[in-house]
């Protein structure tokens, strides 16, 4: 189990991830500069606006430090965070970190009026109740590489995927009071085997 996880705190709902990790008794570090990364055992990129995150990651010179960090540590991205960790995004305004072999389409369901909440099966947690998934102006994962494992689907489309130590979700577990997905990340991504 990790002791301390960083949450990228340039913009977005990073405080919600922080609260969830605290509930699970994990220490958190708000990461705003490259110097905040050493000492973190993993990193979460929160929801927010991916155009804004692109600008701020550029300005803070965080692209290479995050990529290097991910060679040895787990990373989880939710919504805009999933866009940022993707390999390909349908929008030139975004410069993704290219950490997981997926293609992502921004605002795939429409504007805020089309944002929704729905209950989704969690097959990777056997016998577990469905998860309340909150989609806010959410992206869609359109293509996944051969090494990518699809963990959750909605209407046949992947909404939670994993490749090695990178986890990407198009919804917001941090906006619920259900810690199961954060728990899964903490329990399964930080073992020696997962980081190989």
């Amino acid at each position: 189990m990790p002791q301390r996880i960083g949450v990228l705190a340039l913009q977005g709902d990073f405080a919600k991830h922080q609260a969830m990790l605290r509930l699970l008794r994990i220490e958190t570090v708000l990461v705003k500069k490259p110097k905040d990364l050493p000492g973190c055992e993993g990193l979460i990129i929160p929801g927010g606006e991916s155009t804004t995150l692109t600008k701020l990651i550029q300005k803070c010179n965080m692209y290479d430090p995050i990529r290097e960090f991910t060679e040895k540590h787990p990373i989880m991205g939710t919504c805009a965070g999933a866009i940022m960790v993707a390999s390909r995004v349908d929008d030139q305004r975004i410069e993704p970190l290219q950490l997981i072999d997926i293609s992502v389409t921004r605002n795939a369901y429409g504007r805020q009026i089309d944002s929704f909440v729905t209950h989704v099966d969690v097959p990777f947690l056997k016998g577990s109740e469905r998860f309340k998934a909150v989609f806010i102006r959410a992206p869609e994962i359109r293509n996944v590489g051969s090494q990518v494992v699809v963990l959750m689907e909605l209407n046949g489309n992947p909404i939670m995927v994993q490749e090695r130590n990178v986890l990407a979700l198009t919804f917001h577990p941090e906006l619920t009071s259900d810690p199961r997905i954060h728990e899964y990340f903490i329990e399964h991504f930080f073992t020696a085997q997962a980081l190989l």
């Binding site: 913009q11 009026i113 909440v117």
Partner: protein, 293 residues
């Protein structure tokens, strides 16, 4: 599947945290804002400083203008309706703006009632000068609160006053016993359930942003250090002599609001800020913050 619930409205407010929402009057401004890193734009025909100058009745913008801005950017687009003008709000919802600002910057349509915001599927933001006003708006269904400040003044003093008032009043609520909250709710003129919830949380039950008079990166960081969770910038960007640079600098200042080294760097060489108005030169009947209650 649920849509348009209060939880989903709050979800978008959460995503806007730690960001800057910029007033824009055309597609070109909107693109400058997005390129600078704004988390959302507020589409309107005139920025508050020009509304002030123009005088007359100020209304919801032409939907054609809002649509032009929606097509130009990928970030959320907000638009303003007049206080109490629920039909303007219905039109804005029909055109799928992402957020409605029931705003004192426009001429109020109803001096008694604000909009029943629970009837809408898209979220609303409302201004406040104190905690009671914030709780009344939340009671009506606002999913985001901002200070009123004094829009179009380029003077941060009113926003500071309003944010300090709200934060101070919350602090005092948390020190009270539960059996004192009903009396406080009566005196404040705010819904009891929300007074109780605010006392328990030690903060508003919806995100709390700053607006009204932000002109510099330092102004934005000041609001963040006083407890705001994001900043609206109205006239401050496009009334300055280098909007692009100022927009980028304010975005940086909000992210690094606690880091004087970054604040120094982004404040340097920005050119002239908007001129601004001293509050003593702005008679009370010309102040926008007294619209709504």
């Amino acid at each position: 599947m649920e849509k348009g619930t209060f939880e989903i409205k709050l979800g978008l407010s959460e995503m806007l945290k730690g960001g800057v929402i910029m007033d824009v009057v055309n597609a070109e401004h909107a693109q400058i804002a997005e390129e600078a890193g704004a988390v959302a734009v507020m589409a309107l025909e005139r920025i508050p400083a020009d509304i002030r100058k123009a005088g007359g009745v100020s209304r919801m913008s032409d939907p054609a203008l809002i649509q032009e801005i929606q097509e130009a950017v990928s970030i959320p687009v907000m638009a303003k309706c007049r206080i109490g003008h629920f039909v303007e709000a219905q039109i804005l919802e029909e055109m799928k703006v992402d957020f409605i600002d029931e705003s004192e910057v426009l001429t109020p349509a109803d001096e008694v009632n604000h909009i029943d915001k629970l009837q809408f599927k898209i979220p609303f933001v409302c201004g406040c000068r104190d905690l009671a006003e914030a709780l009344r708006r939340i009671g009506e269904g606002a999913a985001l609160i901002r200070t009123k400040g004094e829009a179009g003044s380029g003077n941060i003093v009113e926003a500071v006053r309003h944010l300090r008032t709200v934060m101070g009043e919350i602090q005092r609520l948390t020190a009270l016993r539960d059996d004192e909250l009903m009396a406080v709710s009566k005196t404040m003129g705010a819904p009891y359930e929300l007074v109780k919830k605010t006392a328990e949380l030690g903060k508003l039950s919806v995100p709390n942003f700053a607006a009204g008079g932000v002109a510099t990166p330092a102004d934005a960081a000041l609001m963040m250090q006083l407890g705001a969770e994001s900043v609206f910038v109205g006239s401050g960007i496009f009334k300055s002599n280098d909007p692009k640079a100022r927009a980028r600098a304010i975005v940086q200042a909000v992210t690094h609001f606690n880091d004087p080294q970054v604040l120094l760097e982004v404040s340097t060489g920005l050119g002239e800020a908007m001129k601004g108005i001293e509050m003593k030169d702005l008679p009370e009947e010309q102040q926008l913050q007294h619209r709504g209650w």
